[in-house]
């Protein structure tokens, strides 16, 4: 479980996070949603340690991540996997080398077992054998995301973080990526945190959803519950498009 307590963060005069509290459950897909500028990327980066919050705490299964010395943080980082918005694959490496990268650094497995782990991870995200020797720049956006997921799960992490994993993908591929994230979360019992503004993802995989607005948490619940929420902030965020207006009309 990931527990966030009173996280605040400012950049200059601009206060981006204004005291966020939330609990993200293990074995579930926890979605952070909100419009652009609501603070969800800064919140995710604060949780993974890419941004240092001004105050507040992040507890990873009871361990105080924010107050931890750097040496201990390094060890704990091996329990984390992250999928970035633009995949952030190492463009000078092949598909296989990208997945091998964290294993070469942090795993003491013998070569045969490393190879088996790489094959398992790539197979699990349905990357064909023919793509292993390809440079990642040669892959489509959807395949790059899948390789990024394979790299993120290579060290069998406890926590999986995804920053807008559907960004730039067509609706069909988005659903495939969403389902993959959900399957892996269930299969490996990870605490998964997904940053998104895609309402389809919310309904597809949102076990637990947190809505941010102007740096505040304004709503928390499950994916399906969001359609019944009466909170004005939720209504303003979710029922903007014609499709969701019709969904709301049908529901009421």
């Amino acid at each position: 479980m990931i527990e966030v307590r009173g996280i605040k963060k400012s950049f200059g005069d601009q206060e981006v996070l204004k005291g966020i509290d939330m609990q993200l459950q293990r074995g579930q897909c926890n979605l952070i949603i909100g419009s652009s500028g609501s603070g969800k990327t800064v919140l995710l980066k604060s949780i993974v340690g890419l941004v240092k919050p001004d105050s507040g705490q992040v507890l990873l299964d009871g361990r105080d991540w924010t107050g931890m010395p750097e040496r201990e943080r390094k060890v704990l980082r091996q329990e984390m996997g992250m999928v970035f918005q633009a995949s952030a694959l190492f463009t000078s490496l092949t598909v296989e080398e990208n997945v091998r990268f964290p294993l070469d650094f942090f795993s003491s497995l013998p070569l045969t077992e490393k190879n088996a782990r790489i094959a398992f991870c790539l197979d699990r995200v349905r990357i064909p054998q023919s793509a292993l020797r390809k440079n990642v720049a040669e892959l489509s956006g959807g395949m790059q995301k899948r390789v990024a997921i394979a790299r993120a799960i290579a060290l069998n992490p406890k926590y999986l973080f995804c920053d807008e994993p559907n960004s730039g993908l067509d609706p069909e591929t988005s659903v495939v990526i969403d389902q993959l994230i959900q399957e892996l979360t269930r299969e490996f019992g990870m605490t998964t945190v997904v940053n998104t503004h895609d309402m389809n993802s919310v309904l597809e995989i949102g076990d637990h959803v947190v809505l941010l607005r102007h740096g505040y948490k304004v709503w928390e619940g499950s994916g399906p519950e969001i359609l019944k929420a009466t909170n004005q902030e939720v209504v303003d965020y979710v029922f903007v498009s014609a499709l969701f207006k019709r969904v709301r009309a049908a529901l009421t």
């Binding site: 993974v48 340690g49 890419l50 943080r73 390094k74 060890v75 980082r77 091996q78 984390m80 992250m82 970035f84 918005q85 633009a86 952030a88 694959l89 190492f90 463009t91 990268f101 964290p102 070469d104 650094f105 942090f106 973080f161």
Partner: protein, 248 residues
């Protein structure tokens, strides 16, 4: 402007502090180092050979024209060409050229990694991006630039000799004698010391610019240009300081 300069200088030294740390994995460091020696060093050999050969030739022609006097033996033309190549052309001018080639490569590749979140990916994995990405580049430059400069000296001298002989501007035997006449080995030490300083300046300054890029592709290009300008200024400044310290 002065405040910005000192803030940048402070940031540069802090950056060096995060670069010059023990690598997370020596095996990965060794692999990266070999890759960087190939990318930054070996790939520069053709450029260095070409430029040095022709600059050596030009130096001989210009010196021969200016010392065209029956009372000045061709031996002195050889001495002048040798000193010009060993003392200044190879260590300083070739380093300036390498600042353009290698420095812009370092800043643009690191900048591209920054804007595509590849550095964030390393950080999330628990890998120090500065140490993993920059240290092998600095070490590769420190190790290989002196090799390139020795190469450049030989090629410059060869180009000078060939031009003098081919164009019949000097007596080749007398000219060649000039290459060995009262040769001071300390000048080679001076040239290589300068090269090591310049190698560190080129690799670290270009890395600092690339590492701190914010924005997108345009900013990567701007950082690369700024890096080359800053490196050129610093090389010229340190050339003066080192010459004062080592040759006076």
């Amino acid at each position: 402007m002065l405040k910005g300069f000192f803030l940048g200088l402070g940031s540069y030294f802090l950056f060096l502090g995060s670069v010059l740390r023990r690598p997370e994995s020596w095996r990965e460091f060794g692999k990266s180092l070999m890759r960087e020696i190939e990318l930054l060093g070996l790939s520069s050999i053709p450029l260095v050979v070409f430029i040095s050969l022709f600059m050596g030739a030009v130096l001989t022609i210009q010196t021969a024209i200016n010392l065209d006097d029956p009372f000045i033996p061709d031996l002195y033309i050889g001495v002048a060409v040798r000193e010009g190549i060993v003392l200044e052309f190879s260590p300083t001018i070739v380093s300036l050229i390498l600042a353009g080639k290698v420095g812009s490569n370092i800043s643009s590749s690191l900048g591209a990694m920054r804007v595509t979140e590849q550095m964030d990916a390393l950080q999330v994995m628990g890998i120090n991006p500065a140490g993993y990405l920059v240290l092998p580049k600095i070490v590769a430059c420190l190790l290989f630039f002196p090799v390139l400069i020795v190469f450049s000296i030989f090629m410059g001298l060869l180009g000078g000799y060939l031009a003098g002989d081919w164009l019949r501007m000097v007596n080749p035997d007398h000219f060649l004698m000039g290459y060995f006449d009262e040769f001071n080995p300390y000048f080679v030490v001076y040239a290589l010391t300068k090269t090591v300083f310049f190698a560190f300046i080129i690799s670290s300054i270009s890395a600092w610019y690339g590492f701190h890029v914010k924005g997108g592709a345009v900013e990567v290009g701007k950082a690369s240009t700024k890096a080359v300008v800053a490196m050129s200024f610093t090389i010229i400044l340190f050339n003066y300081i080192l010459t004062n310290v080592m040759l006076q």
